[in-house]
Amino acid sequence: MVAVLPPRLGEATRRVIAANAVMAGCPPELTPVVVTAVRALARPEVNLRGVNATTHPVAPLVVVHGEAVDALGFNAGLGVLGPGNRANATVGRAVRLVLLHVAGAVPGPGDASTQGGPAKYTYCIAENLPASPWEGYARSVGVHAPSAVTVHCGEAPHNFHDMDSDEPARILEKCATAMATFGVNNACISQGEFFVLLCPEHAATIAGAGWGRRDVASFLYERARRPAGDYRAMFGSLAWDPWMHAVPDDHPLPVTGSADNIRVVVTGGAGKHSSVVPSWGMTASVTLPLEG
């Protein structure tokens, strides 16, 4: 048994997961990636019951790290988010089929998403470690394994572009404006994470100025803000950390409760487009070593 998946409480055994992987078109060697992703989704901090049942268009973004990226044929470069190569497309689809079949996340009885979304079809990428100026994401969160899998339950990606900046702040100011929008759940739920998917060229410019991953998160935490009173005017209910309720209306309040909630992954190919994946909110990402 790998996991019991709500709301249906279906039992995801290796055999059942493999059946879904076959239906998705996964070659056998990709099955451990699907199994690892399913195990991660069952962790309590993911809150899979909520992820599957909410009206929000949340979908699990699966990120593959390390040696498995090249060894299993994942695309971490140009077009990483689509149109899709076989490994990215089929692993993402297999995870969705497991959620549909085993978890029962079927529109209506098990998935109340108002409009759904393309990320609910397939949503799997790989970290472009050879093109990253920093250590691998998994290692940065304490997972020291040759390969790993992260799941982050969020929205479809929000693009931001910067074609001509030669220093970090001008690039990341654009990212900050993409984050600090009232339309995302992060605006009213302070525990929500953002995954910032930096393209290699943006990452190189930022790292060239001596910035690390932590500096990116800290800068975005400082700049992705709105006056507290504007949030209060926009929402009837704010699931904020207690201190956020105490600040005056004119205080520039961050769009997430901590810089730790801003996660940076380098992915994609040539060009100067990066993206932000906001969270559903009441969920936390999980990174696990890839199962053998």
């Binding site: 019991v4 279906g10 039992e11 059942v16 059946a19 809150n47 085993v102 109340a112 209910s237 559903w280």
Partner: protein, 92 residues
């Protein structure tokens, strides 16, 4: 031989079952667990008071929770001790 494998898996046992329905609400205490969705509290409080009027129950402990996460243990503990019937909402 062709073997067919179902992709949905067995359904596991739920961790908890539903309590048996009450034959009568007379003399029982009704709790309200507001899921904090718009107007949920208004609806639940009104239903609770109308039920109490009609059946002889009383309205007791009231709590709020976020709809997206499980109820806090201390709220559940208090509900368990103080009320016999709970009104709550699911979804929006």
């Amino acid at each position: 031989m062709v073997q067919i494998v179902a992709p949905d898996g067995r359904v596991g046992a739920p961790p908890v079952g539903l309590a048996a329905p009450k034959r009568s609400l007379a003399g029982l205490t009704i709790g309200v667990l507001d899921n904090n969705k718009p107007n949920a509290g208004l609806l639940l409080d009104r239903v609770a008071s109308r039920l109490a009027e009609r059946t002889g129950a009383i309205v007791g402990f009231r709590a709020e929770k976020n709809a997206a996460i499980p109820c806090e243990d201390q709220v559940l503990d208090r509900m368990t001790k103080e009320v016999q019937v709970v009104l709550t909402g699911s979804a929006d």
